[in-house]
Symmetry: C2
Subunit: 183 residues, 2 copies
DNA sequence: CCTACCGATCGGTAGG
DNA sequence: CCTACCGATCGGTAGG
């Protein structure tokens, strides 16, 4: 049970988060999960194939951590932002942003998975904001919110300073609240 | 002249930007500048030593591109933001953020250089804002501004969409203008 | 799930 | 600035 699929993917995520895609090795992953490297290849055909799995696990965990569609849209929006921020502050870096920066045209499946992940995040957030704003506004607000939160990880990486992250969350919630109704 | 120091550093910067620190190889760099790999080591003792050079070159170029301390603080602030944003939109990714995410404790000189770079950027921006805000507010505004601009590269990487970047710049300028005087 | 191994490439050096 | 080379590690495979 210790070497379950999800356990391997979760450990791969930690390696990708800290070392990036290029800097994470299959040998390190094997050591972390306590098996030999060739055994990894019975579960995952390539290193690249771990990337979609890592992103899918992250999406699944985020969905599970959030309360289902209870409360108003603003409460749900704030809950999502705070959950994301808390995770990023705790782990210092964002795996997904690291992968977005690291994977290129030489690993097209990984690059596609990263693109899909962020578009899905954007669309989910835009759907919430769609309760109070027109589609175009909601989409722009979702993109800006994700950009601000990801950008705030700059200071969790550089100075272990979570203050910019929490300011970003507070301001994003306030913006959504105050703009409601007046375009 | 083609293989000047700055030329090598500039090519190293492109490799770091696209592939990250771990994903950039000295062989690739040598090929790009048209010399053999061992010749690189007559100019730079290690791969790691390229990181401080890349950041220093970037600082130098940014200083040179900006008009010297003419105009009021708001005009200078806006000029800095627009120069940074234009560069990031053109190149899709930020080398400095990629390095901040990629370099770790195994390359301490590189990690220190990245930390120093961003602190210096923050302090320079805070100094401008210091003309109209108290030191603590100016510092927080500078951190938030850098975080927003770096964060907006998420969408230049994912979707080649510069819109969030320009929205961030416009809003940051507007925030600085409107907050002026009233804390 | 293992041992044993592959060719390729890594950062870096010797020696001129 | 080069040719030639080093040990280590990379992603991945053969075969059981």
């Amino acid at each position: 049970m210790k070497t379950s699929l999800d356990n391997i993917i979760s450990e791969a995520r930690e390696l990708f988060r800290v070392h990036g895609y290029a800097g994470a090795s299959m040998q390190d992953l094997a050591t972390r999960v306590g098996i030999k490297k060739p055994s990894l290849y019975t579960r995952f055909p390539t290193k690249e194939s771990l990337v979609p799995e890592v992103l899918a696990l992250t999406s699944r965990e985020m969905d599970a951590a959030l309360p289902d569609a209870s409360g108003d849209w603003l409460a749900r929006y704030e809950a999502v932002l705070r959950a994301m921020a808390a995770d990023l502050v705790a782990r210092q870096r964002c795996v997904c942003l690291h992968l977005a920066y690291d994977v290129g045209d030489d690993t097209p499946e990984a690059a596609d998975a990263v693109r899909s992940y962020f578009r899905q995040q954007r669309d989910a957030m835009a759907a919430m904001l769609g309760a109070a704003f027109d589609a175009q506004t909601a989409r722009a607000m979702a993109m800006d919110a994700l950009a601000r939160i990801e950008g705030a990880t700059l200071w969790t990486v550089i100075d272990s300073d979570p203050a910019p992250m929490w300011r970003a969350v507070d301001e994003l919630v306030e913006i959504a609240r105050s703009r409601k109704g007046n375009p």
